[in-house]
């Protein structure tokens, strides 16, 4: 289950019950280097000392990672027995995911398999021997789960597709290796142009596959549609109406909803998580304050923000950016004739007017997000996405090597590298496999 080498692994490891605090861990030889390049105060990173600072990276939003605490533990005096870095940031799963993605961009860092931190801890003698059986069971169970996952993916055709992609590379590698190992024999030379075409096609497929991840992850987790707006604008009322049940408390008192409530509904066959949030305004109390923080976070994670304005409340100062997909609902039209411009839907939760239009709008948003997939395959798993990310980068390296006229041994090295990456899904391609291909495809041997 665990790739058999001493590389650096990263994972989200937020301990339960830490509220809005996210912890991401890095373990392995590259851990310190990786964080030093992101952290605003790398010089402060001394073993066992928590340092406060910012994380800076083009992919991390402005200000999002300003309040970070980074703790470095030098191996072997760490939980895993090797260099370990713990990064604590404020924020929910969105922030964690973002941070993990950035860490995975660093050279030599890969996502940890489940249980891998424990496994390393055990091997380095950081966990008591009496727990050996437990670790074995964990691996065993995880391996079984991985198989199950792989089987499920097979039905979805992922393994098939990866198999076809590997075959394309194996074909190229077979030709290159035959040219290298049997160049003293009559083997027809294959123009590198044909390799280029194959690699370009693979790149196109890879990009298309990566594009399915957005939809795939929504298939897994559901779309997120938070209802956001000024206090008392009718968010909870609309939430209940869309749910078809009275789930959220509705009162005439502004500031009723203090914490977010989520509930899943089905739209066009897809799960959509509706989120009722606290009204956005100057907070009156501490509980409300944290509720408002949560609302802001919801906006960031949203696939579609349902902004609720109403006839009897102030319009909300727009806190959402242009790029965030949103729909503006103007509620309580039963209270008077006023119909300000620039609203998408005019609605009354009381009479139900405008509800159909809103539902149609939500429906088309979901429908428009559907990605048919590549040969029916939709990536829905972060690990797979990570594999294809790296695969795409490696294919570019292959292309460059061919285009620059590098010798077959270098191109072969790049192709092997690419195959090894795909091998994380399909299993390894061995030199023996390539030799078998050569012997069955070419008449070699004097």
């Amino acid at each position: 289950m665990f790739p058999f080498n001493d590389d650096t692994i990263a994972a989200i490891s937020t301990p339960p019950g830490t509220g809005g605090l996210a912890v991401v861990r890095l373990s392995g030889p590259e851990a310190l280097d990786t964080i030093s390049k992101l952290f605003s105060a790398p010089e402060k990173l001394t073993p066992r000392y928590a340092s406060y600072g910012k994380l800076i990276h083009p992919d991390l939003g402005e200000g999002e990672f300003d309040d970070c605490v980074v703790t470095f533990f030098k191996g072997p005096n760490s939980a895993t027995g090797e260099d370990l870095v713990e990064i604590s940031v404020h924020g929910g799963s969105y922030v964690q995911q973002k941070l993990l993605e950035v860490l995975l961009l660093a050279p030599g860092v890969r996502i940890a398999s489940a249980g891998e931190f424990t496994f390393r801890a055990f091997l380095r003698g950081r966990i008591d021997l009496s727990r050996a059986e437990a670790v074995v069971d964990l691996i065993h169970a995880r391996d079984a789960a991985a198989h199950k996952n792989a089987r499920q993916q097979l039905q979805g055709g992922l393994l098939n597709l990866v198999g076809l992609m590997s075959d394309d590379l194996i074909k190229i590698l077979t030709i290159l290796e035959a040219e290298l190992d049997f160049s003293d024999q009559e083997i027809a030379f294959t123009p590198t142009e044909t390799h280029l075409e194959t690699i370009r096609d693979l790149k196109t497929t890879t990009s298309a596959l990566l594009e399915t991840y957005f939809y795939g992850s929504r298939l897994e987790e559901g779309f997120r549609f938070p209802l956001v707006g000024a206090p008392n604008s009718g968010k909870s009322s609309l939430f209940n109406m869309l749910l078809g049940q009275d789930r959220a408390i509705v009162t005439a008192q502004p500031g009723t909803t203090r914490d977010t409530i989520e509930k899943t509904i089905i739209i066009a066959g897809h799960s959509v998580v509706l989120v009722d949030t606290a009204g956005l305004r100057e907070a009156q109390g501490e509980a409300e304050l944290s509720g408002i923080d949560r609302s802001k976070e919801e906006i960031e994670k949203a696939d579609l923000v349902i902004l609720v304005h109403s006839l009897d409340t102030e319009d909300l100062i727009p806190v959402i950016s242009e790029n965030t997909p949103h729909v503006i609902v103007y509620n309580k039209i039963d209270l008077g004739p006023r119909r300000p411009k620039n609203k998408d839907i005019y609605l009354s939760c009381k009479t139900g007017e405008g509800l159909t239009e809103l539902k149609e709008l939500l429906y088309s948003h979901v429908i428009n997000s559907i990605n048919a997939g590549v040969a029916g395959v939709i990536l829905n798993n972060e690990r797979h996405r990570n594999v294809f990310d790296r695969f795409g980068v490696q294919l570019s390296a292959c292309l460059l090597a061919v285009e620059d006229g590098y010798g077959p041994e270098y191109v072969a090295s790049d192709i092997r590298q690419a195959l090894d990456i795909l091998g994380e899904i399909t299993g390894k391609t061995t030199p023996e496999d390539i030799l078998n291909n050569i012997f069955s495809g070419f008449c070699v041997g004097k």
């Binding site: 289950m1 665990f2 790739p3 058999f4 080498n5 001493d6 590389d7 030889p29 030599g108 496994f119 055990f122 091997l123 021997l129 050996a132 670790v135 074995v136 069971d137 691996i139 065993h140 995880r142 391996d143 290796e177 040219e179 290298l180 190992d181 049997f182 160049s183 003293d184 024999q185 009559e186 620059d404 006229g405 590098y406 010798g407 077959p408 041994e409 270098y410 072969a412 090295s413 092997r416 590298q417 061995t430 030199p431 023996e432 390539i434 030799l435 012997f439 008449c443 070699v444 041997g445 004097k446």
Partner: protein
């Protein structure tokens, strides 16, 4: 039964390429060594093609040289034609090859062995191995002449001689090589001790009378104009350049072969052993690749001014008459006459899963196997194993840890690691594609890679080691200079195409890294001392610089290889009871009994999950034993 009063530290059985290197290494390491061979005259005889080296094999020869072996020197002295293969490709896969004078080669090896202090030669045949009462350690060897020799270590290098069976058409007879009798009895003595054995097959083409060939109808092939020697010690070097001749089969040839195909023991089922797919017989090629209307044949001289030629590409076990009739359809061979026909030979081998990486058997302490007996093919593969076995036998006598090369250090490391972790179902031959760290294992850096080991083992002289260190320092200095010398664009005028697009000062290294730019083109920019470097060394520097990115990636991968790779597995581990390990892996581990976690991970059918579990169970086991 007479008992020799003499006791040897090392006894080597067999005087082929493996046996010679083993005996020389052991005696050079100061061990009293006896080499027993059926015919001293046949020492170092090349039983198949008259050539040493070739793709991947050339690397092996270089490595043997770097570790103080003899094969490279013998080739340089007795070579008839030298050629660097893969010259159109990058240097990582260049590989030297030489046609040799077989007679001179064998004579050279005889004289070296005879002159080697501490090495005794004896004409006899080993018929059984002698072991201690508990059958766990070697004590000696019994010979056909009825003598028991005692020894501390025994190295078996019996080649194709163990129960050798030659096939020519339906005709079969016991022999090790044509004209030399097979070795009978030894296999049985080993199977009695519990060794597993198998059968392999190999073949050789006909030898023809040179005067019966119309060479004017063939294409002449000569060697390199500026040949490079195999050995680091060879200097000066001005070998002959004897020609080979190329001709090819045609549809008529194939028709005759097809018409008699059932007469080939390969197709009639008479041959049970498995032959190598990379060295198929002509009948195999004609049948399996029926769409090819022609196959190349190389007529190679077997020695200087030889009256006989070797028909490379026409290995066959068809009846002699069919071989002759089909060859006579080939241009230049219309009136060809045989000195002897091609034949196939079947022989016993011992699946090398029974060996440690030191080449000592797991079953019997002090007993080593090297060469074709381990299911390999090729002179170079045999010689390499012989060298390692000789070194390790000697170290065992001294009580030293065995000498094991990693896959990232040498082709020799790849070779032996493959042998002990993979199932052999055909004779094993080295290919560059087997070496995952191929870009680091170049023929031109073999001495930098391995001379330190050769020197500390005691097989490489101080003088030669110093020369290697000196060269390495020069190379480093030149590499640094390339990185730190910046060239103005105007100085590039006329040096290479596309120089016009370079607008900024560039380091020599970066210029060299540009596609299509070679070290020769940049020569005018180098200081005199670099220009005057030995061309081989300068090219090595250029390769290191140009492909630095690839090298670094490889080095990084090597570094990342788990430290658990070298974690030892206790010998008595009971794999079959490891329920959490997959069934297939349990069985494979039980069969191979890997010495290290690294070896275990390379056994097919053992998954990373199995290794994770194995690591834990072994750690637990070891701690229980030590506590």
């Amino acid at each position: 039964m007479t008992v020799s009063r003499e006791s040897y530290a090392v006894i080597v059985i067999g005087g082929g390429h493996a046996g010679i290197e083993a005996a020389l290494a052991a005696s050079r390491l100061g061990k009293r060594t006896l080499l027993i061979t059926m015919k001293i005259d046949a020492l170092g005889r090349a039983s198949c093609n008259p050539a040493i080296g070739g793709l991947a094999k050339g690397h092996l020869v270089r490595e043997i040289d770097a570790l103080g072996g003899e094969m490279a020197k013998a080739t340089d002295v007795t070579g008839l034609q030298f050629k660097m293969l893969n010259r159109s490709k990058g240097r990582a896969v260049w590989s030297p090859r030489a046609q040799i004078d077989k007679l001179a080669y064998s004579a050279y090896m005889q004289s070296i062995c005879q002159a080697q202090p501490g090495l005794e030669l004896l004409e006899d045949e080993a018929t059984s191995v002698l072991v201690n009462e508990s059958k766990t350690g070697i004590t000696g060897v019994r010979t056909r002449n009825g003598v028991d020799f005692s020894c501390q270590t025994l190295i078996l290098t019996n080649g194709t001689f163990l129960n050798g069976l030659i096939h020519i058409g339906a005709n079969k007879f016991s022999a090790g090589r044509i004209g030399e009798s097979a070795s009978v009895g030894l296999t049985e003595s080993l199977t009695e001790l519990g060794f597993e054995t198998g059968r392999l097959k190999t073949g050789t083409p006909p030898r023809i009378k040179r005067e019966s060939v119309d060479l004017s109808k063939t294409t002449i092939q000569t060697g390199d104009a500026n040949p490079e020697p195999f050995s680091f010690s060879t200097n000066p070097f001005s070998p002959p350049d004897e020609a080979c001749y190329i001709t090819k089969t045609n549809e008529q040839t194939h028709a005759i072969i097809n018409g008699s195909i059932e007469l080939s023991p390969l197709f009639s089922g008479a041959i049970k052993g498995i032959g190598p797919r990379y060295c198929p017989s002509i009948e195999d090629k004609v049948v399996r690749f029926s769409e090819k209307s022609s196959h190349q044949l190389f007529l190679e001289p077997e020695w200087l001014n030889a009256d006989q030629l070797y028909v490379n590409g026409f290995s066959s076990s068809l009846p002699e008459a069919v071989q002759l009739a089909s060859l006579r359809t080939v241009a230049g061979l219309e009136r060809v006459e045989f000195i002897r026909p091609g034949y196939a030979v079947e022989y016993d081998f011992f699946p090398p899963s029974q060996l440690r990486a030191s080449l000592e058997t797991k079953r019997i302490k002090g007993l080593f196997f090297a060469g074709q007996i381990n299911g390999t093919s090729g002179y170079e593969e045999a010689a390499g194993q012989g060298l390692i076995a000789g070194i390790n036998a000697s170290r065992l006598v001294d009580g030293d840890e065995s000498f094991v090369l990693g896959r990232q250090e040498a082709y020799l490391g790849v070779l032996i690691d493959d042998l002990v972790t993979k199932d052999t179902d055909e004779p094993y031959r080295m290919f560059t594609s087997r070496a995952e760290h191929r870009l680091l294992l170049r023929y031109d850096n073999a001495h930098f890679r391995l001379s330190p080991a050769g020197y500390s083992l005691g097989l490489v002289t101080e003088a030669r080691y110093k020369k290697v260190l000196h060269d390495a320092a020069l190379a480093k200095e030149a590499e640094d200079l390339f990185e730190t010398t910046f060239i103005k664009p105007e100085r590039l005028l006329g040096l290479f195409e596309a120089q016009a697009i370079i607008k900024k000062n560039q380091s020599l290294a970066n210029l060299l890294r540009r596609p299509g730019v070679s070290v020769d083109q940049l020569m005018p920019l180098f200081p005199t001392w670099v220009k005057e470097l030995d061309p081989a060394l300068l090219n090595l520097v250029a390769t290191n610089t140009k492909y630095q990115g690839y090298m670094e990636r490889e080095k990084l991968q090597v570094e990342r290889l788990s430290r658990h790779q070298n974690m030892l597995i206790p010998e008595k581990v009971d794999y079959l009871s490891m329920g959490a390990v997959s069934l297939e892996a349990r069985q494979k581990l039980h069969k191979f009994r890997p010495e290290t976690i690294g070896q275990a991970s390379r056994i097919s059918g053992v998954s990373p999950a199995d290794i994770s579990i194995l690591l834990i169970l072994i750690k637990k086991l070891v701690s229980r034993e030590t506590s």
